[in-house]
């Protein structure tokens, strides 16, 4: 930690009005997670996991976190972790999130990292704070640290409860900053009183009353609403623009600078009218690829592969195989489609830019804004109010740069809120994928060969947890690092990036082999893996779902399927029950059971909400979500054609935890969605005997497969 940083922190305590500030530095993230996205490394930021915890003179405890709340419930679960190890009730906790001025640097809220990576920093800071406060109390009460206990923010003499002092009293008159440099003892799972509970969420009352503020709800005096001229297609260039029609509208400001053509007005409807009055012509490149040709294009345009797994000898595997299976799977581009579009409000005053943003990465946006308007990053403050859904789509977002530039140009506070069509256009879609799997098994149904090639999606979820002596996984084009031209528009992380595509392929391939071997799909999996956590979730799902062993598909219109996987260090297995209407191709998912081993469960109900959300959201990409495009032109512009999952599609959902309190908490926001494609496809196979190799499994594709 540099001296400059330490001075900042003393200033920080002054700003906070005294008390005790505890900081913790758990070291470079890369020590904890070697698969951290390289795109977020090497930018000159401190790549460590920090947590600040402040105990004010009135006893109020505030946790400062660079993470953001976008629905995953971490506002509450992070406070639970802090409260547990600090020894206060949850009611005493407050949290400030995603504010670049007061929160410790954070690389972004994604990858199910908040609980498993930032959580330990929070707990360490809280445990250290408890030690500091206990030491202060020992001095005050004239006893040794060992003679003291802590409960609900009060330190007391264990043998004489009347002798006590509150945290607030101890913090009074203090201006202490501490870094955690020794290992503080964390509360044991058996002693938990706040963690492991399901308190009502701290964001709930605001959210059900409409009081919760999102970026677009920030209103500043004199604020202008901006609309920006957009190209009709990615790759199109502006050849002529006539803004005179917009300029003729009273009280409309028109900006045309360095490629940014925008209109601004005191209300969004006038701005829209002004935008419609602009006449523009664009040069559009001829489309080279579309919704149907993309799958071959991905293969043709792919770079050299990465090989995350390679073991044995594929040729030997082929020879050892009594039967081989060669199938290719396809997955289309899918939108994030948060109901809150990307939004930002920017104000520039006295040499400082303040930007409220709907973002998963306030600190990376701080850098982007600073570069765009020529400010030092320290003079740019990004504040993150509640975020109305992210799913990976709000890691980036040029709306902050547009808002900041327009605020700089006009000298007024500016709101840029993308319309739904802009949201569909500038989304960084989940990449389309082509996946070829060549696998083999011996006479006994033991896996002998796994030759896995994935184009377009990426590596996550392609890990082989089945026991295969001869295996290879080749990844052609990772979503974050695809070569130019591979995808016709931006792609990015979509809830468990790549894993949804990879599990769709891998778990169907396993199912195909089980059927060919005449084995029950669950038993086939149990016989082909020795990973104890995978065996645990499979056995749990068997009991929880009432799985009946069956060697051949039912083919009577009703079926059940199974799929499993690992994501964010969490093990997950699902069973789905479906009904297939053979005359329409409509598939109804009647029931989904999900078993998850996620280590210690910080907030069981919060974890269930994530599992339920994953399952329900997944039904969208399973049955209907598919971005249709011609080259860089996005044909879906709103929810009329791009169909998200709806109420009427909801199955009965049951969620089960596999107890594993020996393992620290693992990811919870993504694992349950990764298997949705395969679990439904496998259930359709059981119901019909037909296989679907392409997502989404629309009624037309189901009809085609079963006829």
């Amino acid at each position: 930690m540099s001296e400059a940083k330490a001075i900042d922190r003393r200033d920080f305590v002054k700003v906070l009005g005294g008390g005790i500030l505890v900081t913790v530095n758990l070291g470079p993230l890369t020590l904890f997670n070697s698969t951290a996205e390289p795109a977020y490394q090497g930018r000159g930021y401190p790549e460590d996991i920090n947590a600040y915890l402040h105990i004010a003179e009135d006893g109020k405890v505030t946790l400062y976190s660079g993470k953001i709340e976008m629905g995953q419930g971490v506002m509450t679960s992070l406070c639970q972790m802090a409260a547990e190890d600090l020894g206060v009730s949850l009611d005493a906790m407050h949290i400030v999130m995603g504010d670049t001025d007061t929160c410790p640097w954070d690389m972004g809220t994604f990858g199910s990292l908040t609980t498993r990576m930032f959580g330990p920093a929070v707990r360490a800071a809280a445990a250290k704070a408890r030690l500091i406060l206990t030491d202060l109390a020992a001095e005050r009460l004239g006893v040794s640290r060992d003679a003291l206990s802590v409960a609900d923010g009060v330190v007391y003499v264990t043998r004489d409860k009347a002798r006590s002092v509150t945290y607030g009293a101890l913090a009074r008159g203090q201006a202490i900053t501490h870094e955690v440099d020794e290992e503080a003892v964390l509360r044991a799972v058996k002693d938990f009183s706040v963690m492991g509970q399901s308190p009502l969420r701290m964001d709930g009352v605001e959210k059900v009353t409409g009081a919760a503020q999102y970026a677009g709800d920030i209103r500043l005096p004199g604020m202008l609403y901006a609309r920006v001229l957009r190209p009709p297609a990615h790759g199109a260039s502006l050849t002529r623009v006539d803004t005179s029609g917009a300029e003729a509208i009273p009280e409309v400001t028109v900006v045309n600078q360095e490629g940014l053509v925008a209109v601004l007005a005191a209300d969004p409807e006038t701005a829209e009218r002004a935008l419609e009055a602009i006449q523009a012509e664009f040069d559009e490149p001829a489309p080279a690829v579309d919704t149907e040709s993309i799958f071959q294009h991905l293969v043709d345009s792919s770079p050299e592969p990465n090989t995350p797994e390679r073991e044995g000898d594929l040729e030997a595997g082929r020879r050892a195989s009594a039967r081989t299976f060669d199938h290719t799977y396809f997955n289309s581009y899918v939108a994030h489609a948060p109901i809150e579009p990307h939004t930002a409000v920017a104000e520039i005053k006295d040499g400082k830019a303040t930007v409220w943003s709907s973002t998963q990465g306030p600190f990376s946006q701080q850098g982007s804004i600073a570069r765009a308007i020529g400010f030092e990053p320290g003079n740019v403050r990004v504040l993150t109010p509640y975020v109305g859904g992210g799913f990976g789509g709000k890691v980036g977002g040029s709306q902050v740069v547009e808002a900041a530039r327009l605020a700089q140009i006009t000298g007024r506070p500016v709101q840029v809120a993308w319309t739904r069509a802009e949201e569909f256009f500038y989304d960084t879609f989940r990449p389309a994928a082509t996946i070829r799997v060549l696998s083999g098994m011996d006479e006994d149904g033991k896996l002998t060969l796994w030759d896995y090639q994935v184009y377009g999606a990426g590596a996550r979820g392609s890990d082989v947890f089945y026991d295969v002596p001869n295996k290879s996984v080749r990844v052609y084009g990772e979503w974050g690092r695809a070569p130019a031209g591979m995808h016709p528009f931006g792609v990015g992380a979509w809830r468990a990036p790549a894993a949804n595509s990879n599990r769709f392929a891998a778990e169907q391939q396993i199912d195909i082999m089980a059927a060919a071997a005449g084995r029950d799909p669950l038993e086939f999996r149990l016989e082909n893996t020795t990973d104890p956590r995978m065996l645990g979730v499979l056995k749990t799902i068997k009991d929880a779902s009432g799985w009946q062993s069956k060697a051949a598909p039912a083919r009577n219109g009703s079926g059940r399927g199974l799929a499993c996987g690992i994501d964010a260090e969490t093990y997950v297995a699902l069973v789905a029950e479906v009904t297939v209407d053979s005359s329409t191709g409509n598939v109804t998912v009647d029931r989904v059971v999900c078993a998850q081993d996620m280590g210690v469960v910080v907030n069981p109900d919060g974890a269930r909400m994530q599992m339920e959300g994953c399952i329900a959201m997944g039904l969208g990409y399973v049955f209907s979500e598919e971005i249709r495009f011609e080259g860089g032109k996005i044909l879906d512009k709103n929810f009329g054609t791009y169909q998200l999952a709806r109420f009427s599609q909801m199955p009965e959902i049951e969620t089960v935890f596999v107890p594993n309190d020996d393992l620290p908490p693992k990811g919870g926001g993504e694992p349950a969605i990764i298997n949705m494609g395969a679990v439904v496809a496998n259930a359709i196979f059981d119901a019909t005997g037909a296989r679907l190799y392409r997502l989404p499994m629309t009624p037309e594709r189901v009809l085609e497969a079963i006829s």
Partner: protein, 169 residues
Amino acid sequence: MRSPSREGVDVKETIIFTLNGQPVRLEAEPDRKLLWVLRTDLELTGTKYGCGEGFCGSCTVLVDGLPVRSCLATLDFVQGKDVTTIEGLAAGGELHPLQREFFERGAYQCGYCTPGMIMNAHGLLQENPHPTREEIVQGMENNLCRCSAYKRIVEAIEAYAGAEGGDHV
């Protein structure tokens, strides 16, 4: 109900309606959308923009007790009517029982669609105080929740309908 064109000279009219029990009087173009008037002129930001074309329901408010998409509704449509937004539901600092069910059952995640969900459900329940699950699903079908808290939203509405009995006003 076609309003005057906004091309050329703006034609402002006096618009009077009731908003969350209070009279509102505006001098405004009658074809302005209720959503934006609520969010800008009237400073009530609980009603959300989601799609602007009536597909998602995030902007749902009640007009004379019925759920209406405020991104499509114009000011002349609400002229003389009674408009209720999410801000008008909790009375005297107490959550409305329907809001309480949403809160206590975790029938939200990011919360952005939640005001629209609650207002749509509130409107449905005024028409049909004891809906079956099927009727709830049908009535809520065109409200979208990307976090997909659908299961708990249905459970919250059911719990409220079951607990409240006949009168949902």
